[in-house]
């Protein structure tokens, strides 16, 4: 571009965006308590749950979100606004219980504002008393959708075992306030800061053919 207009005021967004008083009570206004213990769920069930968070906002310590495909409290990541943070999304999508180390599954309504006890650091380095564990490696032959990639500070869910031609993965994550919660192409698999983490106790899906992985059903179909 040979000449560019210089715009006098440039929006600046760094750490600690200013919250707006009107948004500070979004959680208090819209969220409610609804949850129940459930039997073990499948990975597909967890993914369907996480799917609703796509296109919603991000909120540190959250959270609570609707399904209107927009961030209802933009530029306010730390004031009781709409959306999960990264570890809160994993907590709710994995149907974890709100007791440290508890096994079993618990469904939290998307509109219940809850984060759970686990931060990204915990997912990155889980101890043996937790209902999730670090995988031995990040090879594609090891990971399965709804496993997580975690580092100190951030965690995201592998949305599918399929991957784009460029490499990388489709990751469902609460990425940040500016970009919100959504599915992005990420290279966490090859980033040395990240490890792969698996939730324990998934239910096994119905399998009528070859089942190479215990909780996922795959089927090869020849096209003549």
């Amino acid at each position: 571009m040979k000449r560019m207009l210089i715009v006098g005021a440039v929006a600046c967004l760094v750490v600690g965006s200013v919250s707006t008083v009107g948004w500070a009570s979004w959680v208090g206004t819209y969220c409610f308590t609804e949850n129940a213990s459930v039997s073990a769920i499948t990975r597909n069930t967890a993914r369907a749950y996480a799917e609703i968070a796509a296109r919603e906002g991000y909120e540190w310590g959250g959270g609570c979100w609707n399904d209107n495909a927009r961030d209802d409290t933009p530029n306010a990541p730390d004031s009781g606004g709409e959306g999960p943070d990264c570890s809160g999304l994993v907590f709710k999508s994995w149907y974890l219980k709100r007791t440290w180390g508890a096994s079993g599954f618990h469904r939290w309504n998307k509109m219940q504002n809850i984060h759970g006890y686990y931060a990204s650091d915990t997912f990155h380095a889980p101890t043996s008393d937790l209902p999730f564990h670090k995988l031995p490696n990040k090879y594609r032959s090891t990971t399965v959708f709804m496993d997580a990639f975690a580092k100190n500070g951030h965690v995201g869910l592998l949305d599918t075992s399929a991957y784009p031609s460029s490499g990388g993965d489709y990751v469902m994550e609460a990425k940040g306030d500016t970009v919100g919660t959504n599915i992005f192409i990420e290279n966490y698999r090859s980033d040395s800061a990240y490890v792969a983490v698996r939730r324990e106790g998934w239910a096994t899906q119905a399998c009528t053919g070859t089942c190479p992985k215990a909780d996922v059903t795959e089927e090869t179909i020849a096209v003549p």
Binding site: M1, R3, M4, L5, I6, A9, V10, A11, C12, L13, V14, V15, N44, R47, A48, E51, I52, G61, D67, R70, D85, C86, S87, G88, K110, A119, Y139, G153, H154, A162, Y163, P164, S166, G167, G168, Y170, K175, G176, D177, V179, G180, N182, F184, I185, N187, R189, S190, D191, S192, G209, T210, V216, T217, E218, E219, T220, I221, A222, V223, P224
Partner: protein, 460 residues
Amino acid sequence: MALVRRGALSRAVTIGVAGAMVTLSVVGAMRSTGASVAGRGLRAHLLSANRPGRTLRLYYTPPVLVRAGEQVAIPVDAVCATDEGDQCATEVGISARAGDEPWHSALATAAVNPRFDLTDLASRARPSGSVSFALQATDGAGAVIGLGTTRKDAGLRFYVVDRMPMVSMPAVPFGDVRRGQQVLALPWGSGPLQAGLELGNESDTVGPMSFDVDSEGRVYLLDSLQHRLALFDQGRLTGQLELPGVLFDIAVENDGSAFVLSRSEGSSLEVRRISPSGLISAAASLGEGVPGQIRVANGRAFANLLPLDAWAEVPRPGDGLGPAPAVHIGRPVDGGEEILRVARQDSVRLGTVSEDGRVTGAVELRSAANIGEVALAESDGAGGYWVAVHLWQEAPKAADQYQVVNVRGGEVLSSFAVPAQQFAAAPPQNRFRLVGDSLYQMVSSPEGLQIVRYQLGGAS
């Protein structure tokens, strides 16, 4: 042993009835809220007002480029969720054909993750050299979504080649990296001479999402956190423009214009053209999808649509993509060709598609280290390619870096490694640019952002 399943649809299509695949969404995801439809041009195929809203998403792993005689399978993954976040069942189907043969179809039953085996079709791909296919998923309530169609220019495809030499990337120890020459350095902060940063706090650390460089070495920085496009000439800010939406990628044209890919507040992806004088066009809509790349070729802008995993020409300002636009599997480049690149589990495959649809220059690069993504794949102007491949290891110590390789005629001409230095994450496909004989990389540290340059041609 492959498990063969065929439904009635399969038999009907083998008679030669094309068009079993309806015209469907090209971006592979849609959300319906009762009568209100988020997708474009798909009302005929979506739920009625009496049914609950659904989200339907379709993923697949594209083969892109295969060697004659090898097995070819396409894993497909359909996601179906109600508005309450409950799973709904789906059926996944494929239509495919070799060359101009009749279409063949197959269906997968619900609750499975199918892999469609197209080895037989691939064996019949010659002399066309390609297999066309389209994917479709339906939920139990009648919603339909697809990737590609049976229309010739809107279908997905993969190419079959007789010759694809295998070449090993020279091993470069992790940490043995070349440092580029700094072209631009910006500290983190807010202001014209800073780069916007959103520090991760149970979130990713996000900075500028992309950049491009023109033929005169000027850097166009997409400073997403400051909602601007900033132009730097030899490190000096010479202009900036405020842009709407979440900014994801930029491509600069030879005439000084630029195309910016962004996401609007309503989560639709769109592209704006910025003229050399700084005028911002109306947005061209790409619909919903996963943010990919934008590039220019032959004076036109092309967007990589995901999860369709194909390139489509960006519509005119104010227009939207039709439900089944013409797509290219390879990235269009100047001269009318397309660059194919696919990252496989243990190799990278490259090829060039000519205007008549034939593949030349196919090559497979292997590495002793684990292969991540192909961060850059460009023609070297002499029948070969420059690539930047993300390599990684977990033992004896977790490490990763990019290896830059020039491969031509089945031979590695040069190779060196550069660091994967990303304090602030940029999308994996936006970290490198090749301009002339210079490779540019966007890196970041706790101190700020840098654009560095590597002079090509003399690498060891």
